[in-house]
């Protein structure tokens, strides 16, 4: 159900069913196909939730848009859940899917060190698709930054409120 609608959105062309073994040089690697056939963590969190960080990268004009969201445990700074939605090629989808898998359970500082080269290697991306893995790395970083900026804004707002209250009660 999701897959049928997803196929139109997720932008995968006619080559997606080609078994990786048969089309050695031009097919998608089996891991990429796997992420497409068995999508992990596709979905959305409430972006207004203060524990959620949203990274939106790319541009439709370029043919690639990735939205990667993380749910962070405020107390520990660990990412407890992640989800993504990607508009783009199979490699872009797989890259962002892998990104959501890898960030789960990790601390926020740790995930900033996830490199596009690792994602590309894991998916055996061909040279022309390395840009997809970089986009995924950027999406992770964007999500982390978003969460941190939200947290900072909230802290600033709370401090302001506390200040106002102090003045009022003085």
């Amino acid at each position: 159900m999701l897959r049928a609608a997803g196929r139109r959105i997720l932008g995968l062309g006619s080559g997606h069913r080609a078994p990786a073994a048969a089309v050695a040089s031009r097919g998608y690697h089996e891991r990429v196909v796997d992420h497409y056939d068995n999508p992990r963590n596709v979905g959305s969190f409430d972006k207004n939730d203060p524990t959620v960080g949203t990274g939106l990268v790319g541009a439709p004009a370029c043919g690639d848009v990735m939205k990667l969201q993380i749910k962070v445990d405020d107390a520990t700074g660990k990412i407890v859940d992640a989800c993504f939605k990607t508009f783009g090629c199979g490699s872009a989808i797989a890259s962002s899917s892998v990104a959501t898998e890898w960030v789960k359970g990790k601390h926020m500082e740790e995930v900033s060190s996830i490199k596009n080269t690792e994602i590309a290697k894991h998916l055996s991306l061909p040279p022309v698709k390395l840009h997809c893995s970089m986009l995924a790395e950027d999406a992770i970083k964007a999500a982390v930054k978003d969460y941190e900026s939200k947290k900072a804004k909230l802290a600033a707002a709370n401090a302001e409120t506390a200040q106002t209250e102090k003045v009022a009660s003085a």
Binding site: M1, L2, A5, G6, R8, I9, L10, V42, G43, S44, K47, G53, T54, G55, L56, V57, G58, A59, P60, A61, C62, V65, K67, K85, F87, N116, T117, A120, P127, V128, L130, H131, S133, M134, L135, D138, A139, K141, A142, K145, D146, E148, S149, K150, A152, K153, A156
Partner: protein, 194 residues
């Protein structure tokens, strides 16, 4: 149930983006370290930390670049105003054709197994056999040249009109220098691309 509509919602959102884009700046997709947020198209609220410019936290379809954007996003670039498409094509094609010629000459001069230069659909592919493959292509919406290197991975170069070179803003690397260095090292013979 929710999942059936979710992709449709994303598609709707993206088509609204496309419509909004015509009247406002393109979502920034360069690697300028000073860039933050998405220019005029997405109006990110609140304080932004400096990061790669394609990061926004909210898709709000306002088409007015707000004062907020200017302060936090000083280098938000509307690529269409930076360089016309025609100018971009001329510049980029010149660079890529030049590279094509030089790579072909280089290939004649050196002995690398599987050395192959390919140019089709404005995409330049330089195969160095087992040493790896370079792909260089134009990314017109962003007025960029994209490179995929077996050594340094993906990179996106913007035209620096002062220096008259293509520069990857994240690392400040210049396209031709980068290629000279990497290809020269991989193949063991210096190459001049400038």
């Amino acid at each position: 149930m929710a999942s059936r509509f979710a992709p449709r919602l994303l598609l709707q959102r993206l088509s609204t983006l496309r419509r909004a884009r015509r009247t406002s700046s393109i979502l920034v997709a360069s690697e300028a370290p000073a860039d933050v947020g998405g220019g005029g198209l997405f109006s990110p609220p609140g304080p932004w930390s400096v990061l790669g410019p394609r990061c926004v936290s909210r898709v709000s379809f306002s088409t007015r670049p707000s004062a907020l954007d200017e302060r936090q996003n000083p280098a938000a670039v509307d690529y269409r105003s930076l360089m016309s498409e025609e100018e971009f094509h001329t510049l980029a094609d010149e660079t890529i054709h030049d590279l094509l010629e030089k790579f072909e000459e280089y290939g004649d001069a050196i002995q690398v197994d599987g050395y192959e230069v390919d140019y089709g659909n404005h995409v330049l592919t330089l195969k160095l056999g087992s040493l790896g493959t370079y792909v260089i292509n134009k990314q017109t919406p962003n007025r960029q040249i994209w490179l995929s290197s077996p050594v340094s991975g993906p990179a996106r170069f913007d035209w620096d009109s002062t220096a008259k070179t293509w520069v990857y803003r994240r690392t400040k690397a210049a396209l031709l220098q980068l290629l000279e260095g990497e290809v020269g090292q991989l193949c063991g013979e210096p190459i001049s691309l400038r």
